[in-house]
Amino acid sequence: MEGQLNSRYVELNMGPQHPSTHGVLRLKLLLDGETVKNVEPVIGYLHRNAEKICELDYYCDSLIYFDRMDYVAAMNMEVGYLEAAEKLLAIEPPERVKWIRVIMAELNRLASHLVWAGAFGLDLGMITPFFYFFEEREKILNLFTEICGSRQETNYMSIGGVYQDFNDKIIFKIKQFLKQFPKKMEGAYSLFIKNDIFLSRTKGIGILEPEVALSYGVTGPMLRASGVPYDVRKDAPYLVYDKLNFDIPISKGKDVLARCIVRFEEMRQSVKILNQALDKIPDGPYFNPKAKKSLMIRLRGEGDVYARTESPKGEFGVHLVGDGTVKPYRLHVRSPAFKNLSVLPFLSRDVLIADMVAISGSIDLVFGEVDR
């Protein structure tokens, strides 16, 4: 089509500031009437090259750049980095720390899915659910404030431990939150699932076959909604996920609705995990003395490791290479949202613009992570 004068197709630029593109995503659309013929995502507007910055910093300093990758799920990013860094530096966190990390990661998974749900409702023109979801998210962020001192970019964990220990008051507060949460979530969920308009806008839209999803490197709830039960927490357990009893929800629907249902079921599973973890959390130290503050910048690592963890968006992988100095030689991040976004042009062929917005909403994009 390029270079020809063709009155049939119209080129339209969507973004980088359009509200339903979830940040600074620019889509070059080729339209035939209201049907999308081709989409070309243009990304990189939020690019900071965190990988290069990490190469210039000590191992312990790199953590804050991970907070700012998937900024709605900072805890999961921290867990991902520390899985790799602790393997490379051969520092084992104490048992209690592992449980604390699981609790924080799952709380943040809830928060991340709640943000997604609110934003997804907005994409489809529903404003009401947004407030219910964000009210619950705010409660989680308040818990974070109490535990770590900040809301979103928490910088809570550190190599070999966490910044502050849990106390009984915090555990009580999280339990209280969990008691009221399922009811609130189900109430807001019914605004989605019992709404005919919502169903007709999501059912059968954006069908993603499992083979295609695998070939495109799609992971996380998107892959599970296509019927592939891949979850790093089950397939390659890290922290203490092998000691917890939970299920991996999958759906055979393959469409936008299936992705929505899978994410809500994941929230229920997260609540299940949290309840177990809060009961089982053992006593003990909350950091490894080998990595106490004064020794932190002297940690040296050699060799290369790859660690994968399950972030709310999918498989979050960190490939870390050390050359025996106090700084990483090379760090590469496998960003799940980046890979999930690459399937958008395939999914949006010959669909309406409004459906394309629904599809891009169902991917759960966070641009801090896509652009890094």
């Binding site: 690019h47 990988e51 695998l214 490791v305 992988g317 690459s342």
Partner: protein, 153 residues
């Protein structure tokens, strides 16, 4: 097999295949036939005289078990695997963008995160961090990169 694959265990217990660059595409094709249907990640590491490419593959049939394939290139070129896995498309573009590795046979090899026209490859060890580059947009809506601060926003 007509080619030689060296196998070793990584520091974290991963299975790693080392392969000559010449036989690389053959090995990848064979691995795809053996059921490695998920290409998780492509990484490049700059060792100044050579660039090491690292591919993380997973097999969906057996719990997404991880396999790492490593190869080395001295002239920054390697065969593209986009014909085997679709996900290589964006990954290879990212490595081209950041590391300057040219993937032979890639259908659309251009920068993905940085604007077209950026000078240098940021993740190379010899990249000059002291020079600022400024990005602006021309009337056509295309990105324009220059070293002149007056061109910035």
């Amino acid at each position: 097999m007509p080619y030689e694959v060296k196998e070793e265990a990584g520091k974290d217990g991963r299975k790693i295949f080392l392969i000559q660059k010449e036989n690389f595409l053959e090995l990848m094709t064979d691995l795809r036939k053996q059921g490695y249907d998920h290409l998780s990640l492509i990484t490049a590491v700059d060792f100044r005289d050579r660039i090491e490419l690292v591919y993380h593959l997973q097999k969906s049939a057996s719990n997404f078990e991880l396999l790492t394939v490593r190869t080395v290139t001295y002239d920054s070129t390697i065969d593209s695997v986009t014909s085997i896995w679709e996900s290589a498309n964006w990954d290879e573009r990212e490595q081209y963008d950041m590391m300057g590795v040219v993937f032979r046979g890639h259908p659309n090899l251009k920068r993905i995160l940085l604007p077209e026209g950026w000078v240098g490859y940021p993740l190379r060890k010899d990249y000059d961090l002291s020079k600022n580059q400024y990005v602006n947009m021309d009337d056509e809506g295309n990105d324009r990169v220059s070293f002149d601060p007056g061109d910035g926003w």
